[in-house]
């Protein structure tokens, strides 16, 4: 049995970065507190033996307040299984006094302990020098200076842990209560801080040198009530502008690549059902989704940069003012921020919220945040129907529209959270305390890894769930085939072939005819029949049966919609099929009366619906798990779906009144 070593420390001191460096794993890290909310295990080879290293969420104290802190306390006190064989405590060398409070409690557990002194470089910038040897003497446990992000000092750390496991010695703390009412007595807390100062008195050297001048100066602006809020809007505006300008050439390249691959894949196949399936299901459906990979990559590049440089914690601080007015605190903002990437980790991040009512409220509004799966829907609609207008030469209307839609979820979440708090009779917002991490240059490896993982994840989605849905939708749209329609179009085809048109004109006419035939066949297919049955429900939103079916097919996972729209509209597009770009097919789509199907009003209503609807089974499952009841998942699904329908219908009707349906 390998020995078990628990990796513990305050939030945001680099535990997961160290865990990844020691075990070779790729768990997610971020320069703000509360990224890790559950425990993870990894294998770590140290001299002479192998240990199982456990990464635990960050905690300030063994007197747990929130579910993630309770997990740490229960694990260390052996309330859920055996106690670990040793502790590897990691502290932030730039803020030792605060970190030592928790260390004093951990040492009182009486387990063999090794101390890793991380971020010595940040401490040096602050004019703080911590002497590991002097600290080791004072504490009576091994103390190793490391820099987890660069891998410095890890060999010495492994050696120290190996020696500790070989000859275990119980750590001796101040001998104060660690649980029960005595642990939170002011006298006990005072004594722990006094002990911490005493341990550090001979090991710490302060100079007047740095004192974080740059970070402090930046914070004077970035956390300022007015300038900070303006900076937040400006930064977000720049992010969305860049998503547009940077990813467009890459997306065009991707489109050409997918079209070229599709063409070469299909060319040798004889006409028939299989070719139809590959062309309309695989290439037109899943292929249309892959085109969006560059945009996902650029979005996550910015998310990773903002997270790693330390700005995310500032934005939570800025939002606290607004949130507290609605009964939430900035503490809720971190899970909501996580939900902009994906609501699943966002809902799980609510474990950092101690107040049950605030936690539940945050959990129920988290799926309203615009996750990355919504990005392709916004992009394709904006690219097709929002004019490419630039104001003052730099501000792009399309980027502003994207920013508005990304903010929509947050804007809608606030009144809903307020209503939920009223329903829960939750009272005033709890006080929000957040430790602002030092600004630092983002770690290139961390950033690139995040970009790669999310892009890979997106491609994997396109190749699995999206592909399976597009195949099913294709089958529903391809069967049954009407012999009467086939015979009618065969006659028309014969007429064209016998006409005296040039071969080029004939080819174009036949291509249009074939697309029309596919459209006519689809009308009477199973998909068409189902679509016509549900069409009245979505008529107030300006949608026809095809859009309605695409939206319904996307309830398991919303990114499926792009594949389904591709399967439905790319195959019936009468334009030259040189490009897989969905926007062209959508622009060309017609209603039965010949009018364009999509216009600004329809595009806006579709985007509003996707912004607010609960189209993600994974999120509902995680809400059930975290709230402990299916009822809350059912409630989330119901309120979001009803809200999405009402908001989309209102958007369409208002936009149509203003002339957007022309």
């Amino acid at each position: 049995m390998p020995k078990v070593v628990a990796l513990v420390g305050n939030p945001n001191v680099g535990k997961t970065t160290l865990f990844n460096a020691l075990t070779g794993q790729n768990l997610r890290t971020g320069n703000y507190p509360g990224v890790t909310v559950t425990r993870s295990a990894g294998s770590w080879a140290i001299p002479g033996t192998k240990v199982q290293l456990i990464d635990l969420p960050g905690s300030y104290s063994l007197a747990a307040h929130s579910p993630d802190e309770a997990l740490v306390t229960q694990f260390l006190q052996g309330q859920k299984g055996p106690r670990p064989d040793a502790l590897l405590v990691i502290v932030d060398a730039s803020n030792p006094e605060r970190n030592f409070y928790f260390l004093s409690q951990l040492m009182d557990l009486g387990l063999p302990t090794v101390l890793a002194l991380n971020m010595v470089d940040v401490a040096a910038d602050k004019g703080l020098r911590v002497d590991p040897a002097a600290l080791q003497k004072a504490l009576g446990i091994p103390v190793i200076a490391i820099q987890a992000s660069r891998g410095d000092g890890l060999a010495a750390l492994a050696q120290a842990v190996a020696e500790t496991l070989l000859a275990p010695q119980a750590a001796v703390g101040p001998g104060l209560p660690i649980d029960g009412p005595g642990a939170t007595e002011p006298d006990c807390i005072r004594k722990r801080y006094a002990w911490s100062r005493q341990q550090l008195v001979n090991a710490i050297e302060r100079s007047q040198k740095g004192a974080m001048k740059l970070s402090d100066r930046a914070d004077r602006i970035l956390t300022h009530r007015v300038w900070g809020s303006l900076a937040l809007i400006l930064i977000m505006g720049l992010v969305f502008q860049s998503i547009y300008t940077w990813s467009q050439p890459l997306m065009d390249g991707m489109d050409k690549l997918v079209s070229w691959l599709g063409g070469h894949l299909l060319a040798p196949l004889p006409p028939g059902l299989l070719k139809e399936l590959l062309a309309d299901g695989l290439v037109a459906g899943a292929g249309a989704v892959v085109v969006f990979v560059p945009q996902i990559a650029v979005l996550f590049l910015f998310i990773a940069l903002l997270e790693d440089c330390g700005y995310m914690a500032r934005s939570a601080f800025l939002m606290d003012r607004l949130f507290s007015k609605l009964g939430l605190s900035g503490r809720s903002f971190i899970p909501l921020l996580s939900s902009f990437a994906c609501a699943v980790p966002g809902v799980m991040a609510t474990r950092t919220i101690a107040d049950r009512k605030e936690r539940l409220t945050t959990m129920l509004v988290a799926p309203l945040m615009s996750c990355s799966a919504r990005l392709p829907v916004y992009t394709v609609m904006i690219a097709a129907f929002i004019p490419a207008v630039r104001y003052y030469g730099i501000v792009d209307l399309r980027a502003i529209t994207l920013l508005i839609f990304y903010s929509l979820g947050l804007i809608v979440a606030l009144p809903i959270a307020w209503l939920l708090r009223k329903y829960f009779q939750a009272g005033v917002a709890p006080l929000f305390l957040i430790e602002l991490p030092s600004y630092k240059w983002p770690n290139l490896r961390t950033v690139l890894r995040r970009v790669w993982e999310q892009s890979y994840e997106f491609i994997a989605q396109a190749g699995t769930i999206i592909l399976s849905v597009t195949v099913i939708v294709w089958a529903l749209g391809a069967f049954p085939k009407s012999d009467a329609i086939s015979a009618d179009f065969a006659r028309q085809r014969q007429t064209i072939e016998q006409s005296k048109q040039t071969p080029e004109a004939q080819a174009t006419a036949i291509r249009i005819l074939e697309a029309d035939e596919r459209g006519a066949q689809m009308q009477q297919s199973y998909l068409g029949r189902m679509g016509h049955a549900v069409e009245p429900v979505f008529q107030p939103l300006g949608w026809d049966w095809r859009i309605s079916m695409a939206a319904i097919a996307s309830f398991p996972a919303r990114e499926v919609v792009i594949g389904v729209l591709g399967t439905i509209f790319n195959s019936t597009n009468t334009d030259d099929a040189e490009s897989m770009q969905l926007r062209g097919s959508l622009q060309n789509a017609r209603r039965a009366d010949g009018k364009p199907l999509f216009n600004i009003a329809v595009a806006l209503s579709l985007m509003v619906f996707f912004a607010l609807c609960a189209q993600c089974i994974s999120t509902l499952a995680v809400i059930k798990r975290e709230s402990g009841h299916w009822g809350w998942a059912a409630f989330t699904f119901t309120y979001m779906t009803v809200l999405a329908w009402i908001a989309a219908a209102a958007t369409y009707q208002i936009a149509a009144l203003l002339g957007g349906a022309g």
Binding site: A373, L467, I472
Partner: protein, 40 residues
């Protein structure tokens, strides 16, 4: 029925089975497909 139709039928059946499995797993909170690489 020619071989192409058989292949298409097989692909559609596999797609349906895969979709059902994936959806059931997601509903059970397993392999959510969104964030299996992160620390959550």
């Amino acid at each position: 029925m020619n071989i192409q139709n058989w292949i298409v039928g097989l692909i559609v059946v596999v797609a349906i089975l895969y979709f059902v499995r994936k959806t059931r797993r997601a509903a059970a909170g397993k392999g959510d497909g969104h964030c299996n690489k992160c620390s959550h």
